[in-house]
Amino acid sequence: MLNQLTIAGILTEYTNFETVSWDRLWTATRQTIYMSALSVIAVFVLGLILGLILYETRDNQTIWSVALYKSVSVMVNIFRSIPFIILIVLLIPFTRVIVGSITGPTAGLPALILSAAPFYARLVETGLREVDKGVIEAAEAMGASKFELIMKVYIPESLPSIIAGITVTAISLVGYTAMAGVIGAGGLGNLAYLEGFQRGRATVTLVSTLVILLIVFVIQFIGDRWVSYIDKR
């Protein structure tokens, strides 16, 4: 009896839909999508460039290549190792200078990009290393320049890995936006924390969670479809 009451109590706590402000939910959703989308685009570009640099300089023996590889590699490892919640706090002075504010969705971007780009760069590098060496040799034998090699061989031939990599990165970025939200970047994480946790409205937390799940599923679906469409191997 008591048990049933408890369960019923929990259920009502989760289904108190009148406590949800749909307006705020919509705004928060937009903020999350905004942060995720912009950071994914920036991470994609930055990670691709870093990944190419890592790949290109890896086996090169000239002093510049070695120096470049080592410094990019060390940077990648450092940024990958800092827990995101600490990185975002650590970057506050930096964010204040380049964004002009330390709250709001845009203020979340520097930390999001800096934490995910090195991770994605590693994924890109791995993908590039899987490109068939014979195909590269064939392109060189045809007289392709380095730039042509990158644009016509490396990127198209590793595109499934590049796309699959950005899908994984995008999903973890959605997770990071929630953490950024807690310390003031807005979005669904912020909503769940301020309204759901601090005001004790479990329904708000639940709804925020469902929306985040929906976003993640959509990203995963698009990513998987895209990869299977372009992969002709």
Partner: protein
């Protein structure tokens, strides 16, 4: 067309220098099909890659069509490579591109405008006999079809030279023949000089005009295919030629031992015929003239690029003097005679 002058290539492997190619001289004439045969590690692959600058020689000069490659800068070398096609053992097609797009690839690099590119690629697709596969991806093609795409791609920029890196080693015997026929056709119709490296003497025999045998970084024997097949000098060359006849040999050897048991006093002779002589009635003439019986054990005709080569193993019966007489008689005919013990 192609001249190698004292070319040496040294690799620095873990600080231990390794000479892959040693002071090699080589001349390849315009329009010929030149084979370089050798076991893996003989340096033939390195030698081939020096012909288009994928490897730079450590010393010596590589001259293609009166142009020396070594002093060329990166950009000039890339330009030069556009007139040297190359095909590979594992085809090396881009999986992300269709047949048509793969063939367009070298044309894109050469800066040919798009409509011209597609026209040219279609021309090549029909040359290699893949007209119905234009939109297929490499993953949907068989090995032979992939190599045809590779050949079409290599020919896109009208090369002077076509380099073949073990181009048939990954193919089954029938497909190998088809690809070799295609290469011979291209050589004839487009007058492209073809340099191919292989470890299969069969490939050399079927389409090459001249051959070089490589061993441990050196060219140990060189000459026209006919001459090398008829009269190999080096042990390694003999081994390659024997390999080419391997399948026939096992059964023949068995037949030989049995025959030797049956006619212990008979002499076994191997005769080589070439060209027009393949059809001449040498056996019956010798048999009639010295009045001895001749047993035919085995006969093969192998085709080379321009002439058939025949081998006949026979056994001469009768007493010692007649056998010797027959042997002398054979030597007066235009055949090569070899006594087998």
């Amino acid at each position: 067309m192609i001249t190698l002058n004292k070319v040496t290539k040294t690799f620095l492997n873990k600080k231990q220098p390794f000479e892959a190619v040693k002071e090699t001289n080589l001349t390849i004439n315009k329009g010929e099909i030149y084979g370089i045969v050798g076991y893996s590690g003989a340096g033939k692959s390195t030698l081939l890659r020096m012909l288009n600058g994928l490897e730079r020689p450590s010393s010596g000069s590589v001259i293609i069509d009166d142009k020396e490659l070594s002093p060329l800068g990166k950009r000039e070398l890339r330009k030069e490579r556009q007139s040297i096609g190359m095909i590979f053992q594992h085809f090396n097609l881009l999986w992300s591109r269709t047949v048509l797009e793969n063939i367009c690839f070298p044309l894109e690099i050469a800066g040919v405008p798009k409509t011209e590119r597609i026209d040219r690629a279609r021309e090549l697709i029909s040359l290699v006999g893949l007209s119905d596969k234009e939109k297929a991806y490499p993953a949907q093609l068989s090995g032979g079809e992939k190599q045809r795409v590779g050949i079409a791609r290599a020919l896109a920029n009208d090369p002077k030279v076509l380099l073949c890196d073990e181009a048939t080693s990954a193919l089954d015997p029938q497909t190998t023949d088809e690809v070799l026929d295609l290469l011979a056709k291209i050589n004839e119709e487009l007058n492209v000089t073809i340099v191919l490296i292989t470890h299969e003497m069969e490939v050399v025999r079927k389409i090459c005009d001249r051959v070089a045998v490589m061993n441990k970084g050196n060219i140990v024997e060189e000459g026209s295919v006919l001459q090398v097949f008829r009269n190999p000098q080096e042990d390694i060359t003999k081994r390659f030629i024997r390999q080419d006849r391997e399948t026939d040999n096992k059964e023949t050897r068995q037949a030989l031992t049995e025959l030797k048991k049956a006619y212990p006093d008979g002499q076994i002779i191997q005769l080589f015929f070439q060209g027009d002589n393949v059809g001449s009635p040498v056996i019956t003439q010798v048999s009639r003239q010295c009045g001895c019986d001749i047993n035919i054990i085995q006969g093969t005709i192998q085709s080379t690029h321009n002439t058939p080569v025949g081998t006949l193993i026979i056994q001469v019966l009768g007493d010692q003097s007649k056998q010797e007489q027959a042997l002398e008689l054979f030597k007066t005919y235009p055949v090569q005679v070899e006594v087998i013990e």
